[in-house]
Each structure stands twice: as C-alpha cells, then as structure tokens.
Assembly symmetry: none
Homo-oligomer: 476 residues x 2
C-alpha cells in the first residue's frame, strides 16, 4: 500500500511533469479549483500540493494571477539512471540504425542547402491548387469529418488512378486498388501479404534506403542483385540467383526512374523479368513512385502491363509528383488483393478523406497533365544544370548519371574518396547530401553520393556545389 | 471494522459455499426475496450480490425461473499450433473472415438504423469547428502541403496530449509520444514492437473484434481471459495463466469503458494488474480509446499511472471523442519507444499535418473541456433511454449492462437465442447490430449483442428497438 500522503503523491506527479518539460518554466500552473476537480481532492490538499512545489522551488505565486512554474534555485537532481533495457526491447541495430544516424546528424545541423531530398522544391508543386481544393471540399461538405472512410479509399480517386494507368497500358481495376499512406505503406502491405519473418527478399543494389529499413523492420533477409544506371536490375545475375538453392520469396523492383540510379528498364527486360518471377514463383513487387516524372511525353510502361497471372503487386505514390505533405499512395495487389485489403484494415483502417478528395478534384482535370508537362520540363533543365556544375566543380574522375527523368543524380566519386567523410564535412558547412553507404547493406557504394535536383538552379546552389567540389579536393 | 460493502461480504459468503460444494452446479440459488428476508438486506443489495456472483461466473440467470449455480468460466486456450495461414492463395480465413462476413452482409443491406457503430452520431461531434480550423490552417499556411511531416507527429499536439494526461495522473512526455493513424495503428505498432509471429498474447474475453483481427493478421496466438461488466479482466484467472507453462508475451487491456463490456477496472485492480505483468515480464498494452467518455467530471485513472518500469505501452485515439473522419491516435511506448518510432517510420512514415493542426487548435482551448462535458451528459441520457427501451421491448430474462460512460451496451439475451440469427433477421428489416460471436474466438458470446447508443433517442430508434424485441419474441 502507498503510505505517502496524497498531497505529496500529487506534488511528485507534477514535479515529474516539470522535470520532463511537459510543464515549462514561465507557464501557468493548474488552478486550485482545477486540481480539486480533476483529482477529486479537498481544498486543503490542493493548497498543500502548491506549497510542496513552492518548497521544491519550482512554483511561484504571483499575486492576483496564480501560480507559475519557475526555474528552481538549485538544479533538480536527475532521476537515478534507468537500468539498461534487456536485449529484446527498444534497441534496434541494423541498416535502420545507420540510416537514422545519418538523418539525425542532418537534423542536428543547420542546413543551408539540402541535396539529400528526393522531392521537388515546394514551389514546383501545385500546393495552392490542392489547398484550395481542400478548402472547397471542407466548405461544400460540412460533414466531411463526420463519417469514417472505407478501407480501400475514395472511389473517385481509385477510378482516376485506374483510368490514368491505361496510358501506361496497365489494366488496373478501380475496385482492386487500395489507397495507402504513401508507397511506404503499400510496400509494407505487399511484403506482409506474401512473406513471413526470415524469408529472403531480393532488391536492386543499390536501392532506396527506405526499402532496406522496411525489410529489416519485417525481419526479412535481403538479397542484393546488381543493377546499373543503364538498364536497371541485371537479369542474368537475377536468373542465377533464382536458380540457386535459396528460395526467393519476393523481389522489389523500381523499373522506372530508379532511386538512386535513375535507370529505366528496357521493355524487353521488363517482359523477361515478369516471366522469370512467374516461372520461379517469386512474387514481383513493382515500386512505380517516380514513373510520372519521365522527361518524355510518352509514358513509361509498367511491369504490371506484362503480368497476366496476378503474380505482381503494383505500388505507387503521389507524394513525389503532387506534394510532399500528402500521405497518399496506392497498391494493386493482383491475386493478393483480399489479403492486402485485410492487412490494410488491421494496420491503419483507411486513409483520411480530405486529401483524396482534393487530389481527385485536381487529377480529374486537364490541368493535371499540363502541370506534369511543365514539371517534367523544369526537372530536365534542373538536372542538366546540376550535372554540368558537378562535372565542372568535382574532382576529375567523378561520374554522373544521366537519367531520363526524376529528381536524382547518382554520383560516383574517384575511389579514394569516402562518401561518409564527405557527408560529414559537407554537413559542417550546412550542405546535406546522401552518402552511398545507406543504399546497400554491403559496402559497395561508399564512394557514391546521391544528389537531389528538385530545386531551381540558383547562385546559392552553384556556390554550394563549388564548396562540395572544394571539400572533395581538399580531403582527397 | 469490516469496510467491505455488505453485498460483497454476502457474495463472498455464497462464493465460499459454492467452492466448498455446499451449493452445487445446477442447483437453484436462493431467490432475491429469500435473501432480503434471511439477511435483512435491501432489494438493491440482494440484486448486487447476484450480480457480483455473475461476475465471478458462478451464477447464471435463467428467464422466468431464477438464478442457478454454474461451472465458472475457464480461460479460452489458444488453438494448438494454428496451421500456417494459406499465404500463397490470397485468401484469409479466421476471425477476420467471420467479422468481414458480418460487415459485408451489413454493407449489402440497406441500413435504416445502425446500432452496430461505436461512434456518436455526427451531430454530437465538433465537426464544424474542426473543419473551420482546417480551413484556417490551409489559409494561414499556404505551404502546408509543401513539406513532409515528422515521424512522431506535430509537437503542439503532442504537448497538449501530455498535458491533458496529467489530469489522469499519467506522466507522458511529449517527445515520447508518437502520433499514429488511429489506435489501430498504435496497437499494431505496439504488438510489432514486442512480439514475433507465433507468440501468445492475452486479451479480455469478450474483446473488441478489431483487436482479434489485428492479432490474427500478425500471426499471434490469442489467449482469452474472462472479463466482467463489473470490474473488467478477472485477475485471479489472469494470475493462474501467468503462472502457467505457456509464456504470455503481451496482454492488451481496455481498463476504462471496455468495448463491449463497458467495464471500468477498480483502481486497486489496475495497480495489481500493472504489478502482475511486470512480475511476469508480460508487456502490458493499454487501450484507452473510450476513457474520455466517462460520465463523471473526475477523469478515470489509467494503468499507465501505476507503471514505474516502462513495461506498459499506452495507446489511445481521438476518433471516438472528436470525429469519426479523423485518423488520429497516439502511442507512448515506455521502454519500447525507439523501436516503435522506427516501426512507425517504416510502416507509414508520418501522419498528415492538417488534422493534427486542426485538432491542436481545438484541444488547446477551454471549449474542448466544455464540449466533452456536454457530450458526456448527452451520452449518459442516450444510454439510459436505450437501456430502458431494451428492458421494455426485449424478452424477459434479457440482461443489459450499466456502464459508467461511453456509447455501448452489452446485452445478454436469454440463452435459447442465437445472436447470429438475430443479426441476420434484423438486417432483413434494415437494422444493424453487432452479434456477440465476433467478440471472441470461442463460442461463449453467441447469445450476446452489442448495441451502440451514439445517436439521440428518437421515435425511429424506439420503433427499431420495438422491432428487435418482436424479432426476438417471434424467433425465440
């Protein structure tokens, strides 16, 4: 039984809140009346709580105003060090840890120029149109928040997505599309649908570090298949692996404008890849996040176009093409549709309606295609300018990809350079880049960096690239 | 002096008699009238004695006949090593299938009156205020959609949640809260953080079917521990199970306004439960979705209040208290915080900013407490009206819970009734209810139904309850 008097228990409760920062210096402390009401205590107990906190030096009474949190005169002793948690708890070490340490180092720094983002600059996105659409939807339907959404998502949006897919010769049926919280959730659901912990999943090498984090979080084993900026995944290498002794449960591929390579698989390779996976009973997961950002007016074909057996799960996202602040992706899961729908329901129920309405209202108009056309032209130009500057400022022997679209360049430094050292040096002067190390569980890309070209070229960017070049030359 | 209430003294008196065999299974229990006479107690005390014994599972009311001694419930053991789910077919069979078939039958029907929802009627929620807040936020920040959010969520909202938790004597630190897509994602993350497929997780029986779906989707084995409308989970049964040979990795409990029982655990039980789980190294997951809907001004204490070791993961949601169209929940994961943050990042990245801004702007004002106070009063009245009508219209022998808050009634029909047949008959005339069958993997609740009281009482509702009563009397 707790023999501590009630007023002291309550005082310690609030003391903890002050120590942890939940109640901050200068803030008004709950009134006596409120404490009596919320904690069902008497007037005298509530008063004693305040007196106790005054004694601790953390509360000061201001006449005719109330009690306020104050800085204690002597430092409040920290709680005794918590015992180290047992091994199977909160600690997570792996690629996620490595990626996190890179991201956290970036968060601590003051970033002046960010080349680590795969997004376009905000001014290139139709933010205002989307926000206006949201305002219209909120005004038009005063009960928008009054009902829960459906698991699969807004049917107008699913219809638009299915219709747009026709331009890439992809047959998606609206009622077999599930709207997700970004491509991240789509890929998560795909993997949860077709694998169990311990299964092996193949990916391109290098690949987007976010994928490696997802695979690790699901306790899946990662098999990295070589890929090139020219044509993506190496099909010969893949075929050998598929014929090997280790069953490969699934393969995740970005066939169009791969992150970070920028590669686009030739159509023949796409057809062959779908066939190979079907033959070997390996589920093919297609990540088409960047496809819409291709330079040309003619859309890139999807792997899904070649799938006739339902062995392919198609995942995509609107974050990169429409707005970073959206969490909208979608999945069309072939013969795993029912299971994916079930998992979506148990994982996050459904996506909020408003974003879906705003996006439908925009994507359903010709303005959307006009916008994409403009965006593509802008990105082509930005990549060309960035690429030229890198060639100019970086040391001799630096290689830069020339992707057919998107926001990313994959830069190979002369071998003597360490991408991680480069990353840290650049961070010191407020420039953020993505070191190649995080794009693989192996050490193959430790002299590569990924450079984002989402922002319009400017004097500031030019200067930052010059600075990067200088860092490389000085630390060669 | 004996401070145990009289009814409880009497209940224990009879409990001893049953345990010792003085009163045997199948025997008739002394009538209310006899107890009043023999023990010189009031009607209400005599009734409470019977209710207490029902809670212990040793008494059963038979319509038009009286109370009888029954074999107490035994915990529902998980099925011996479940066969691996048919991963490759895309078909998913289990509780989810059963729940889905119920939900799908409802979707196909034309629903005139919906008693299956746990939400309040839309007009009871501050929908307009929230939508106005959204419009303001969209106008005020023209670049709201221009940037991706942070994994843990909006810091203003997290501060408000931490501060509100103080009223329930719960110390949450804002920077150890993660905003999630509803409580569904919170519980998902909690389970993913602390279990592996095949582990055993205990739940209350009955429990919210959504939990059973989540557990099944994660390939976890479910152990059902008896719970009563009076005081929630049976701690004696739990203790026996914890001492048993099978390790119980986690326990999910709704201590406040349990769905569907409406039970509130007494504080002493809460303290003991936290202690038990800590002692047995079983992670305690608290689902506090309904706590804010308690009738009284004084908040209900959380289990988290009693946790001093970080062994407890606190999950809650704003969907039920603020708006069904929101997907906002939160998790405070004790010593699993880092792992939960990592899993949130790899599962859905972050939640969209707009809802969080709109909710913060409302929850940060005194209007929020005023709103909750009004809502509570309304719900108290609606439940009373519904309860009275059920007693009036349903067959003799029907039992109805009297929860201290929330939107739900748990109705026990006379044993000869099938809840599932009742559900289908009701659906034929456009009335939706939740059959007890879906609240357990066992067949224990097939003569129970859950009735939602979220809508203001009306002639239409009265008529629907009359119709339900007629259906029961005709199909008895």
């Amino acid at each position: 039984m707790n023999t501590t008097p009630l007023y002291r228990q309550l005082a310690h409760h609030y003391l903890d809140a002050i120590r942890s920062g939940t109640l901050k210096t200068g803030e008004r402390f709950p009134s006596i009346r409120l404490m009596m009401e919320k904690h069902a205590v008497s007037l005298s107990t509530a008063v004693q709580v305040c007196r106790e906190l005054e004694d601790y030096g953390v509360l000061e009474a201001r006449p005719r105003s109330g009690n306020y949190i104050r800085q204690p005169d002597t430092p409040v002793k920290p709680a005794p060090a918590a015992p180290p948690p047992p091994l199977d708890t909160g600690i997570y070490v792996g690629i996620h840890e490595q990626v996190s340490s890179v991201l956290k180092a970036s968060q601590r720094a003051t970033i002046k120029v960010n080349f680590a983002s795969a997004y376009c600059a905000p001014e290139l996105y139709p933010i205002k149109t989307l926000q206006d659409n949201m305002i219209k939807a909120l005004r038009h339907d005063q009960h928008l928040l009054g009902a829960a959404g459906s698991t699969c998502g807004n049917s107008a949006l699913r219809n638009i997505l299915a219709r747009r897919a026709l331009t890439t010769k992809t047959n998606l049926t609206a009622d077999r599309i599930v709207i997700t919280n970004g491509a991240t959730e789509a890929i998560n659901l795909a993997l949860r649908a077709v694998t169990r912990p311990g299964d092996t999943v193949a990916v391109e090498s290098p690949t987007f570090y976010g994928l490696l984090q997802i695979l690790e979080s699901l306790n899946l084993r990662v098999l990295e298949v070589p890929a090139t900026p020219h044509s993506g995944i190496n099909l010969l290498a893949l075929e050998q692996l598929l014929q090997g002794p280790e069953p490969i449960k699934a393969l995740i591929v970005m066939p169009n404008l791969h992150n970070p390579l920028g590669s686009v698989m030739p159509d023949a390779n796409k057809a062959r890849l779908v066939q190979l996976c079907t033959e070997h009973n390996t589920v093919l997961i297609e990540d088409d996040t960047y496809g819409d950002l291709v330079d040309t007016e003619q859309p890139l074909s999807t792997l899904k176009h070649w799938d006739s057996t339902g062995n392919l799960i198609y995942c995509a996202s609107l974050n990169k093409t429409l707005a970073p602040g959206l969490r909208l992706g979608w999945i069309s899961a072939g013969r795993w549709h029912d299971r994916v729908e079930m998992l979506k329901h148990t994982q996050t129920r459904c996506c909020e309606a408003l974003s879906q309405l705003a996006v439908s209202a925009f994507m359903g108009t010709p303005s959307y295609e006009r916008y994409l056309r403009r965006l593509r032209k802008t990105l082509t130009q930005q990549r060309q300018q960035m690429s030229a500057a890198i060639t100019r400022y970086f040391p001799e022997g630096t290689g830069v990809t020339h992707p057919q679209g998107g926001t990313l360049l994959w830069v190979e430094l002369p071998r003597e350079h360490s991408a991680m050292a480069f990353f840290h040096e650049a961070l010191k002067v407020g420039i953020q880049i993505s070191p190649g190390d995080i794009f693989s569980n192996a050490r193959r890309f430790n002299h590569f960096v990924r450079i984002g070209c989402g922002a319009p070229y400017s004097a500031k960017i030019d200067e930052a690239l010059q600075t990067l070049g200088r860092i490389l030359k000085n630390h060669g």
